[in-house]
C-alpha cells in the first residue's frame, strides 16, 4: 500500500470515528460495564450473569427501557417530559384499583391509555400553542398527578395497595419482559425510522422553522410523539405494577430522571434533531441498570453508587453532548 493510500485510509477512519463518536462512546460505555462487571462480580464469587442476578438485571432494565424507548420520540423533538415518573405511578395505582374492582386488567389498561393520551396531547400541544417550553406543561402535570395520587391514597387509607385475584406471572417472566421490549422497540422503531412521524419529529427538533416551511404541521407532529410515549408509559406501568403486584404513593418517583440519564448515557443528543437514535434508549437503560445491579455486588456501598453513576454520567455527557463546530466554509 502506498503512503498516500495509507494516509487516505487513516483520514477516512478518522472521519468515520468523528461521525459516529457519540454512538461509539455510548456503546463503548456499555461494553466497558459488561466487561468490568463480568470480571468484578466473578472475582467476588457472585456473577452478574447468574440466573438470579440476570433476572434482577432484566427486571431493573425493563421499566426504564420501556419508558425510554417512547421518550426517544420526545427527546428527538428537543423536548423533555418530567411527568413520566408520576404518570407511571398514577397508572400503576389505577391498574391495581380497577383490577381489584373488576377482576381484570383490561378496563384499567383502557382507562390508563385514555388518560395517558389526553395528557400527551396537552403536553405536546401546550408548548406550541402557549409559546412556552413544553417541559413547563410536563412540570404542571407532574404536580397535578402528584396531587391526584395523594388524594387517591388518602382516600384508600393506605400508602400501599395490592392487586389480588389476577394472575401476574406473565409480567414476572424475564423472557416475556424481553419479548415485550423487543416488540415495543420494533413498533416504535418502525414509526421512528420509516414513517413521517419520526422523520418530522427529528426535522422539528433540528430546525422547526425549516420543517414548518417544508410543510410539516408543527402542532400535529409535536403531539403525535407524546401519544407514542403514552402507550409506552402504560406498558411500562403494567410491568412496574405486575412485577410487584402492588402500587404505592411512591411508585414512579424519580423515573423521569432514570429515563433522562439512560438516554444521555445512550448517546441521545439533548437538543434532539437528526442525530437522535432509538438505540440510545436500550443502550442507556442497560448501562444504567448494570451500574445499579453490578456496583453493590462488587462491594460498593449503596451511598457511593450514586456518586459513581454521577461520575460516569458526567464523562459520557462530556464526550457525547459537546457542541460540535460550526459549518466548514469552502
Amino acid at each position: 500500500m502506498t503512503a498516500i493510500a495509507q494516509e487516505k485510509e487513516k483520514q477516512t477512519l478518522q472521519q468515520w470515528l468523528k461521525a459516529h463518536g457519540s454512538a461509539i462512546a455510548s456503546l463503548g460505555g456499555l461494553v466497558f460495564c459488561i466487561i468490568f462487571f463480568t470480571i468484578g462480580t466473578g472475582i467476588k464469587g457472585e456473577s452478574i450473569w447468574s440466573a438470579s442476578k440476570l433476572s434482577t438485571l432484566i427486571c431493573d432494565v425493563i421499566v426504564t427501557a420501556l419508558m425510554a424507548v417512547g421518550a426517544v420520540f420526545i427527546y428527538s423533538l428537543g423536548n423533555m417530559d418530567v411527568s413520566i415518573g408520576r404518570q407511571v405511578g398514577l397508572y400503576s395505582t389505577l391498574l391495581v384499583l380497577i383490577g381489584n374492582a373488576t377482576g381484570s386488567l383490561l378496563l384499567g389498561i383502557l382507562a390508563c391509555i385514555v388518560i395517558a393520551v389526553i395528557i400527551g396531547i396537552i403536553n405536546g400541544a401546550a408548548g406550541e400553542l402557549l409559546h412556552m417550553y413544553s417541559v413547563i406543561s410536563s412540570v404542571v402535570f407532574m404536580m397535578v398527578i402528584s396531587g391526584i395520587t395523594t388524594i387517591i391514597y388518602s382516600n384508600v387509607g393506605s400508602k400501599n395497595i395490592i392487586l389480588s385475584g389476577i394472575d401476574l406471572s406473565f409480567f414476572r417472566s424475564p423472557l416475556n419482559m424481553v419479548i415485550v421490549l423487543v416488540i415495543e422497540y420494533l413498533i416504535i422503531g418502525y414509526f421512528f425510522y420509516f414513517t413521517k412521524f419520526g422523520k418530522y419529529a427529528r426535522a422539528i427538533g433540528a430546525n422547526q422553522r425549516a420543517a414548518a416551511q417544508s410543510g410539516v404541521n408543527i402542532i400535529k407532529y409535536r403531539v403525535i410523539p407524546y401519544i407514542f410515549l403514552a402507550f409506552c408509559l402504560v406498558t411500562a406501568s403494567l410491568f412496574q405494577m405486575g412485577y410487584t403486584g402492588a402500587a404505592s404513593d411512591a411508585t414512579g418517583t424519580g423515573f423521569e430522571m432514570n429515563v433522562m440519564v439512560s438516554l444521555i448515557l445512550g448517546g441521545m443528543p439533548l437538543k434532539g434533531g437528526m442525530k437522535s437514535r432509538l438505540s440510545c434508549a436500550v443502550i442507556g437503560a442497560l448501562t444504567f441498570s448494570l451500574l445499579a445491579v453490578g456496583l453493590p455486588i462488587i462491594g460498593v456501598p449503596t451511598r457511593m453508587t450514586f456518586m459513581i453513576k454521577a461520575l460516569i454520567f458526567l464523562v459520557v455527557v462530556l464526550i457525547t453532548c459537546r457542541q460540535k463546530t460550526g459549518p466548514l466554509p469552502r
Binding site: A206, N207, G273, P327
Partner: protein
C-alpha cells in the same frame, strides 16, 4: 439609511459603471510610499492543503497577498476560495502547508487570535450574537476595555459603539438596541463594524455583499478602498463578476481546490476578461447564453396564484396575478416589502386583509401552499430553508414525504433515489446524500434548497433571492432550469435584489419601493437597469 435620493442614484450608478480609476489613485504624497508598500507581502500561504474527510477542499495552494491589494477570489462553489482565508483567519487549521503573516510563521488557533493580530474575516452566514445589544456585539470579547472592578460600564460601551457606527456611516443603527431588531442586512453591517478595527491589517470579505443592501455595499466598497489606500490587504470573495471587476485590483481564480491563475488590473480590463475568467473558473466554455434569449412574454391564461387586496403592515391592498408559464420578477431595495410578498404568497404570514388564492382555494399556511403545489425558496437559507444539522437527503425529501408514503411506510430506497436525482441534477459537491448540509459550501447549500422543490414537482415556485451566493456555472444551470420550468407551464415568482437577473429572466417585472408597487414593465430587449433604478430609490 441617511442617503438623499440623488446621492443614492449616483452611488448606484457609480457602482454599476467601471469608474474604478478614482479609487485606485492615491494622493501624490503617498504615491512613492505606497509603491514601496504595495511590494511588501503581508500574507503568504505555501503548499496549503485542506481535507474534509474524503473531500479535498484545497490541494496544494500557494497564495500571496500584498499590501494595498484588493485581491478578488473567484471560483465555483466548493472551489476552495473561502477555505484559504478561513484557515488564515483561524477558523480552521490546514491539513498541510505553512503560512506567513508579516514575514513571520503564522498558525492562528482561533479567529479571536487572528483578529487581535490583524486578520479579520466577515463571513457569508449571519455571525452576530442574538439577544444582546448592538454595542455588546461590536465589543464582544473586548468588554474588559469598559470594565472596572469586573463591572461593565454599559453606558460607556454604548457611547463608544454609537461613535463607531457613525464613523462607518450607519448611524441609523442604534448601539443600545437589541441586535434582533435589525434586518439581516443591518446585522451584517454591525458585523463589519465589529471586524474592522484600527489593528486590522487584512480584511477578508467572504461573499458578504450578497447579504447587503445597495447602501450597505457602497459603505463596504468605500471602506475596502480606504483600507487598501492605507496599505492594508483586502481579500474579496464574491460570485458577482461585475463587482469583482469594479472593485478589485487583482484577481485569483480557483477551481476544484487548485489555483488556476492570477489576473492583474490590465488583464481584468481586457474586453474578453469576463469570458476568460468564466472559462478559468468552470474549466469549459460555458457559452454566451446566460439569461433567457427570447422576448416572448406569452403564458397560459389560467391564473396559477393570485393575491387579492392583500394587506399586512405597511403593505396595503396589494394585487398580483401569476399565470401558468409566467415568470414575474419583483425587484427593489431589500426593505421595500418584496420579500414580505413572497412570504405572504406562501402562507407564512397572517394577513390583516385580502386573500391568497390558488386553484380557487385560499392559502393560509405553508402546508396548504405545498398541498396546492406551491414551493418556496426562502431568502434566509440557513435558518429557514435548510436543516443545516441534517443530511442532504433528509433536506431534499422533506417536502416530498407525503408523496413517498405507501400506507405509512416510507421506503429508504425511494428517498435515496429522489435525493440522488437532485444531487446529480444540480451537481451538488458531496460524497453522498448522508453528508450533512452544514459541511457544504454556500452555493451547494442553495442547490439543496432548490432541489427540495424540484424534487417535489411544485407547479408554482416562489424564489426569494434564488441565486444568492451561487456561482456562475450553477447560476447558468438554474436560469436554464427556470426557463425550462416556464416552458413546462410552471409559474414562477422571482424576488431578487439583482436587477440584471430580473431583467434577464422575467416576463413581467414589478418594482417596489416603500411597500408599494412603483413600476411594472413587460420583458423587452432594450430594458436596462437604469430604466428601473429611479423607481426603486
Amino acid at each position: 439609511m441617511c442617503f438623499s435620493e440623488e446621492n443614492s442614484v449616483i452611488l448606484y450608478m457609480v457602482s454599476q459603471a467601471t469608474v474604478f480609476q478614482y479609487r485606485f489613485a492615491p494622493g501624490d504624497s503617498l504615491k512613492s510610499e505606497m509603491v514601496q508598500m504595495e511590494k511588501e507581502i503581508i500574507f503568504e500561504a505555501k503548499h496549503m492543503r485542506k481535507e474534509f474527510g474524503p473531500t479535498i477542499a484545497l490541494k496544494d495552494v500557494d497564495f500571496t497577498l500584498r499590501r494595498g491589494e484588493i485581491r478578488g477570489l473567484v471560483g465555483e462553489n466548493g472551489s476552495g476560495k473561502s477555505t484559504i482565508m478561513s484557515i488564515a483567519s483561524g477558523m480552521q487549521p490546514a491539513t498541510k502547508g505553512e503560512m506567513f503573516y508579516k514575514g513571520q510563521p503564522w498558525k492562528p488557533a482561533t479567529m479571536v487570535e487572528a483578529q487581535d493580530a490583524g486578520i479579520s474575516m466577515i463571513l457569508q452566514e449571519a455571525n452576530t450574537i442574538p439577544g444582546v445589544t448592538v454595542a455588546q456585539n461590536i465589543f464582544a470579547g473586548h468588554e474588559a476595555d469598559f470594565s472596572r472592578f469586573g463591572v461593565i460600564n454599559m453606558v460607556k460601551m454604548k457611547r463608544a459603539a454609537q461613535k463607531v457606527l457613525e464613523s462607518f456611516g450607519i448611524g441609523h443603527i442604534k448601539a443600545g438596541d437589541l441586535i434582533d431588531r435589525y434586518t439581516f442586512e443591518d446585522r451584517k453591517l454591525v458585523e463589519l463594524v465589529r471586524c474592522v478595527t484600527d489593528r486590522t491589517e487584512i480584511l477578508v470579505v467572504d461573499e458578504t455583499t450578497t447579504a447587503l443592501s445597495l447602501e450597505g455595499r457602497e459603505i463596504l466598497y468605500k471602506l475596502i478602498h480606504k483600507m487598501a489606500d492605507q496599505g492594508k490587504g483586502i481579500v474579496f470573495v464574491s460570485h458577482d463578476m461585475d463587482e469583482i471587476l469594479e472593485q478589485c485590483t487583482d484577481l485569483t481564480v480557483l477551481r476544484d481546490g487548485d489555483i488556476i491563475g492570477h489576473l492583474n488590473r490590465s488583464e481584468m480590463d481586457a474586453p474578453d476578461a469576463v469570458k476568460t475568467i468564466r472559462y478559468m473558473m468552470v474549466g469549459r466554455e460555458i457559452g454566451d447564453k446566460y439569461y433567457r434569449e427570447d422576448y416572448d412574454t406569452s403564458h397560459g391564461d389560467e391564473v396559477a396564484l393570485e393575491l387579492q387586496d392583500v394587506s399586512l403592515g405597511r403593505i396595503r391592498n396589494f394585487n398580483l396575478k401569476l399565470h401558468k408559464g409566467e415568470i414575474i420578477g419583483m425587484g427593489g431595495l431589500s426593505g421595500c416589502g418584496m420579500h414580505d410578498i413572497g412570504r405572504i404568497a406562501y402562507g407564512l404570514e397572517k394577513l390583516e386583509g385580502g386573500r391568497v388564492i390558488r386553484n380557487g382555494k385560499e392559502i393560509k399556511t405553508p402546508l396548504a401552499a405545498i398541498n396546492s403545489g406551491i414551493g418556496y425558496i426562502s431568502k434566509n437559507r440557513d435558518t429557514e430553508a435548510l436543516i443545516l444539522n441534517g443530511p442532504i437527503q433528509d433536506n431534499i425529501v422533506l417536502p416530498s414525504i407525503p408523496a413517498l408514503e405507501n400506507k405509512t411506510f416510507i421506503s429508504p430506497s425511494s428517498e435515496k433515489r429522489l435525493s440522488d436525482r437532485e444531487i446529480d441534477n444540480y451537481r451538488i459537491k458531496c460524497h453522498g446524500g448522508r453528508q450533512y448540509v452544514n459541511t457544504l459550501s454556500g452555493g451547494n447549500k442553495q442547490k439543496v434548497s432548490f432541489g427540495k422543490w424540484t424534487a417535489k414537482g411544485s407547479e408554482v415556485i416562489i424564489m426569494d433571492c434564488p441565486t444568492r451566493g451561487v456561482d456562475i456555472g450553477v447560476k447558468q444551470a438554474m436560469y436554464a432550469l427556470i426557463e425550462e420550468m416556464k416552458k413546462e407551464g410552471k409559474a414562477i415568482l422571482m424576488i431578487s435584489e439583482e436587477l440584471s437577473e430580473l431583467i434577464g429572466m422575467s416576463d413581467r417585472l414589478i418594482i417596489m419601493k416603500d411597500f408599494e408597487v412603483t413600476h411594472q414593465v413587460e420583458r423587452r430587449p432594450d430594458l436596462k437597469q437604469t430604466d428601473l433604478i429611479e423607481y426603486m430609490i
